[in-house]
Amino acid sequence: MTNGHDTHSHIVPVKVYLLVYVTLLVLLVATVGAAYLPGHHTLLNNVIALTIAVVKAVLVMLYFMHVRYSTRLTWLWASAGFFWLVIMFILTLGDYFTRHWVPVLGWE
């Protein structure tokens, strides 16, 4: 389990944690602020909110979950989670976006 070269105990300075934490708070404020943008830009709001959410998630993974300082194997597994999420989205949307391609009697 603990072969010397596998034990990776990178020590992250507290400053980095604080910086990431403050960044997350700023992004949180940005998300709330974007929701109050003048006019009803639903699409724009969604794009902004989701982009901020992705950035926040990546920050948490890289720093709080130590992925940045981990082995390539950990990177592979972390990416696999997202890859599977993409599979779920693509095939599910593959249904939603094609509902009208072949009309079915009684389904409309």
Binding site: M1, N3, L91, T92, G94, T98, W107
Partner: protein, 553 residues
Amino acid sequence: MSVAVAKPGEVKHNYLNAGDTVLSWLLTTDHKRIAVLYLVSVTLFFAVGGLLALLIRLELLTPQGDLMTSENYNRVFTMHGVVMIFLFLIPAIPAVLGNFLVPLMVGARDLAFPRLNLASWYVYMAGGLIATWAMVNGGVDTGWTFYPPYSSSYSTSQVTLTIIGAFLIGFSSIFTGINFIVTIHKMRAPGLTWFRLPLFIWAHYATSVIIVLGTPVVAITLLLVAVERVFRLGIFDPALGGDPILFQHLFWFYSHPAVYIMILPAMGVISEVVACFSRKRVFGYHFVAFSSVAIAVIGFLVWGHHMFTTGQSVYAGMVFSLLSFLVAVPSAVKVFNWTATMYKGHIEFRAPMLYVMGFLGLFVIGGLTGLFLASLATDIHLQDTYFVVAHFHYIMVGGTIFGYLAGLHFWWPKMTGRMYPEGIAKLAALIIFAGFNLTFLPQFVLGYLGMPRRYHWYPEEWQMLHVMSSAGAALLGIGYILPIFYLLWSLRNGAIAGPNPWGATGLEWKTDSPPITHNFEETPIVTEEPYAYENHHHQEEVASGTGASAAEG
């Protein structure tokens, strides 16, 4: 049959006698003891699920719903499904046999995270007890699939409590999956390269991938149903602005691969047993290994075949149909390779091998009828009929339970140090095979004729088929009870097994039976490929007087 009883002086230190207090079991971090805890727990839940199945079959003896009300019938089949799937089929092989064998097979002292392993059992028990509590306090009537809006807005049964139970049980799977992945990556003995790993390990690795990547999705999905139910937040109920089809996508994204969580470990067992009792190396080792990974990946791309008639787009249906056909390929690779392994082998028809033979036949029938259901046109006729019920029982019972019983018998000498009685074990295997087919073959016919699942009233002309099915279920019940008695009997009275009663290859056979707490006196070094049966002669491997051949006498 002669029975050799251990003399008092011969009792060696092992994991079973390492501590005999209740606390020494409840606080153990030994993977072997945790496997035993799981063995007892899954057996109890299997008994509960089995009794519910017998109630269903009893009700269906007559065309009228005369044994119970429709509401109670809904509860009984739902709880049968919930208990069997979440509390038995999913954990059975990984948590019992996998827990016991993964560290032994890779030559490690324990799993990577022993305390996480114990936590997994506690979380499983907590989930199981909550689900049981829900069962005795009103039960749940949504079907094991929890489809909204019925489950979220209309059912008056204990949906939320059952969902919390299932949610917790999911975490116990995730804990086990993470443990297996890390152990297999990091703790292999010197010389044990990936392609020297037993196929049981490859199968458990692939299973763990599915568990870790899929289970969180169903966990959050079920939680969303509970949120909608409790807080009336519109997620899946159209009346609240939700979308019921979205639930089906999210639910089956996990729940179809869950079938592979059940069947892949069984396939791992089959590879080990078929090689040992054919005394040959597994034909096409690399193909069998990679087919496990292929099933894990492709298994995630087929979930929409559960939704052909429920409002999914026709285009998506075509794509999912094609992808579903694709998953048959790696499954077939395995079946052909096992058959080729037996070809010109020195086949011994021990009880585990009988279960393997049963597995092959039943899995092929289950798999091929799956193709009927993966075809868009035939599925419209067969959707939600007994054809589906028969199909998934062939896969899940014929596949998983036959694999589980094969493995339990095969490694029973390793787990307990005692041989099971061969004669009655073979009889039980035959009874289970006969009972299983009598139960479920008529259901294919019933389904084809149009009998819908989850109904307890049916036209009189179908009664004969239902009576056959119920008679088969009774036979199956007898077949399941037998191993409980003779395996318990063997704990005291079985012949002493010795380290390697089958003359099998693999690191688990190179240590004592039962193994010591830390598995091996010295870290084993692997110098040869797996299943090198041609390099070993059975009689040399079996220590005189301690092997199965001698024990059977």
